[in-house]
Symmetry: C2
Subunit: 514 residues, 2 copies
């Protein structure tokens, strides 16, 4: 079935991201509506396929190209759905994203680099190139709103730390199930998410995770790097392999969010994990979308239990973190590059070579068998066995990366994503520091009062404590994660080499000692 | 110093053999006179360098290009040498080869494929493309010469076998020493050869081994495949690596010859191993060179203690051996190709990759060290150590082929050489079978007598027993060699993987358990 759509705005694809460049007025064919995360897969008239933001195209016009009979039928089905599920806005909330996002606060809305046309009303929080601007909103607001949630920062052994809960929240993402809507026109995967607090599963689709991501980014993004969800991926969406991988990555993302004391304690995160029923979910959802305590205003909830810092000290801390995250980003990317090459070798040429060694031994052995010479059997049996051992080793080599390198790579990929959020988080602080530096000039120009200047210094100190608490949280998690993943990697590597040695020992024992 | 020479005859290089094509009358520059084996290295006017048979060029004319003063001096030195070492023809026996070979029997002299000009008097036994022709020399000779050496063939468990000595001859090739002649103008390596019978070392240069090879090929080549000596090699002749490798290969060649009951028992081989002094060596050398019991006449010394075989059976045996040696040749070459590729990978890209993994770990570790976070040391120490372990593994991977693959390759290279001799040895038998098939026609045409026909059948039966004995010798050695080399290979591989596992286990233990 051909499903067509009209392009509403120009969109320029970002290289290497599976995106498709489209121009306003162009007609494209929808090849996959179920990609999730606010994207759909489309094909242009030149046959090129790629992702396009769903807000950029008029998906409803796809009826236009169908024969009138079929179009009427589909229209009938649509109406039927509206009647049956009139109380459930779930079915068409993929088109509601525009509305719900434009309703939410502007604190986090920025323009994305690649997109053109500034008058569009689209959710920009979807894009990873997020950067908060205007810390003065918090620095100069007359009266910080008295939110219900208070975020405390203590002085721990390592410096400023968030307040950690006694029992760590955790959850399991499991039981992916395929579901369809609109008589199979739309299909999706639903996961069970089971928190360790209630032990009761709640259902969530990828788009719900994406909704949660957007809420967390809106609310905490200025103070806490919120890593992106696992990439949207087109091919093989319903193949087992892909589902398993996406689930594993959603699990990783959720685990990281659960581990964060500020994020895990938030209303929106708790709602996601423990909503009681559909009504509860919908009410909570609307409330979260109307939350005004977003963007830089998060700092107004933060209360450091420590003396104010000097702006110079704040700047030094900021620069130190900036250098560290940059250096770690380079290191992580280097390891990923090396790991990818190693993966390729281990699954490509290397096992082929071991297989050829194995075949060569077996081949020679079968030539020997044809000699007609007596007392040949011991050697030929042993050589055949040695040959088979090398074929087994070939398979082990090819399968090994999934057992060890995979986790090392996944961990580093997660950190690559996380580190990619730091420049923006740190950027908010740098902008605040610049603003404070302008203090005297602003007072002289009567733009702010001397009292405002004092307030700004105090508030930038709060921001610095938040950054330090976040860095310490990051470091502690990093040490835990790298310890764990390196141990797992080396453990599996040891097993791998020991198994090979054992197999070769057995092969060796079959040769006669002479 | 520029040493020039005049080309006496056309010589066409064989591809892939480091040879240089030269034309009669051409002037070449001698770049290495000490290559040995009857070859010298020369450079033509186009700057191309390669090997040329020393008989093909007038090396004595190199005086022509020197300044007259220097030429006179060299001439003086030459004369001096002639006076001092007048009783030792060793110093110039590189030019004596032509004479000594042209004096030896014609039984083994054939024309080499690549060389042009049939009127040249050169030693053709030097060339590996040896093939005996004319088995009728033996089949129809009126009265087989009553040689002193008798070669017996018994019926063993596996079929016809040579008569094996009670104690197996063995020898050690050791202590390579560099020597020079003609005031350093010529230099060579001299080896100690120590047989287990006398335990007394005799000295031999490569050219002596080559002389022995030619004698053995002349004498036994029709019945026993005599493998070529290790390749002549030009570069790095006096570098330790090359000397070690050549010695190892000469050792392998000598061991194989020692193991052969017929070869090891021959006068010429015993002379080589146990000559008492220079005089003894020279006398024995001249005697060996005058031996007329060469070529197909070797079969006249062979006495099988078994009933005559039917010519049809002889042909079947012959075909079976031909098929087997061809199949094994293919198998061995296949293993060599695979092994060479594996060698390249193990010494090239693979260790580089492990090194990069090691560097990436260490790099990330040093970034972590810069975090300023407390309690970082355990992780960073462990990661640095893991990184170093992978660098060690890189080195192990690169060095491993010399410890295991090397011997597997050397063994298969030896067998490749040996198998390359079989087509010629088998060819002699096939020619004899054809001759016997012509028997009736030849009798009818009165070319041979009916008695000759009976004699021919009896003699081709003798040849078949010799081939069977040789094949059984080959099989028994092959089983021994492949058992030994596979055991060694697998043993070293087990050690290699166990060491890696052990190193990784140690690296693993440095991470803290959490």
């Amino acid at each position: 079935m051909c499903v067509c759509a009209q392009v509403l705005y120009d969109f320029t694809a970002e290289p290497g991201n599976n995106e498709l460049t489209v121009r306003e007025g162009e007609t494209v064919t929808i090849t996959n509506q179920g990609v999730g995360g606010g994207w759909i897969e489309a094909q242009n008239s030149r046959g090129e396929v790629g992702l396009v933001p769903e807000d950029y195209i008029e998906v409803r016009e796809w009826l236009g190209v169908l024969s009138m009979e079929l179009a009427s039928f589909i229209l009938y089905i649509n109406v039927l759905f509206l009647l049956i599920y009139s109380e459930d806005d779930e079915w068409d909330d993929e088109w509601d994203d525009v509305k719900s996002n434009s309703e939410s606060g502007d604190g986090g809305a920025i323009q994305r680099g690649g997109a053109t046309g500034s008058s569009m009303k689209i959710s920009l929080n979807k894009f990873p190139g997020f950067s908060k601007s205007g810390p003065e909103l918090f620095l100069l607001c007359k009266q910080p709103p008295k939110g219900k949630e208070k975020i405390t920062i203590y002085m721990g052994e390592v410096g400023p730390v968030w307040s950690y809960p006694e029992a760590q929240l955790d959850c399991v993402v499991a039981d992916p199930k395929k579901g369809t809507k609109m008589y199979g026109l739309k299909s999706y995967i639903e996961y069970h998410v089971i928190p360790n607090t209630t032990n009761r599963p709640v259902n969530h689709r990828y788009k719900h995770f994406d909704w949660l991501y957007e809420r967390l980014l809106d609310k905490f993004g200025s103070a806490i790097p919120i890593p992106s969800l696992p990439d949207k991926q087109v091919t093989g969406r319903f193949e087992e392999e892909f589902i398993k991988m996406r689930m594993e990555r959603l699990q990783g993302w959720m685990t990281r969010m659960c581990r964060h004391p500020v994020v895990s304690n938030s209303d929106v995160f708790q709602l996601f994990l423990t909503y009681k029923d559909e009504k509860d979910w919908k009410t909570g959802k609307r409330k979260a979308e109307k939350d005004e305590d977003v963007g830089v205003m998060i700092f107004s909830s933060i209360e450091p239990e420590a003396p104010d810092l000097d702006p110079i000290e704040v700047e030094q801390k900021c620069d130190q973190f900036s250098r560290f995250t940059k250096a770690m980003d380079d290191g992580v990317k280097d390891l990923l590059t090396v790991g990818q090459e190693h993966w390729k070798r281990c699954t490509g040429p290397l096992p082929k070579e071991y297989q050829r060694i194995g075949k060569a031994f077996q081949n020679l052995s079968s030539v020997f068998t044809s000699s007609g010479y007596q007392g040949e059997a011991t050697l030929t049996d042993a050589m055949t066995s040695a040959g088979k051992t090398y074929e087994e080793i070939a398979q082990m080599v090819a399968e090994q990366p999934r057992k060890d390198l995979h986790f090392l790579m996944e961990n580093n990929n997660e950190y690559k994503g996380l580190l990619g959020c730091f420049p923006d988080t740190i950027g908010v602080h740098k902008a605040a520091i610049e603003k404070v530096k302008e203090g005297d000039r602003l007072v002289a120009a009567s733009k702010i009062t001397p009292q405002d200047k004092v307030t700004m210094a105090k508030r930038v100190s709060t921001m610095s404590y938040a950054l330090q608490a976040e860095m310490n949280h990051f470091h502690s998690n990093r040490i835990y994660d790298y310890n764990r993943v390196m141990q797992l990697y080396l453990e599996e590597q040891v097993k791998f080499y020991e198994t090979i040695a054992e197999k070769l020992k057995q092969a060796h024992s079959q040769f006669t000692t002479m």
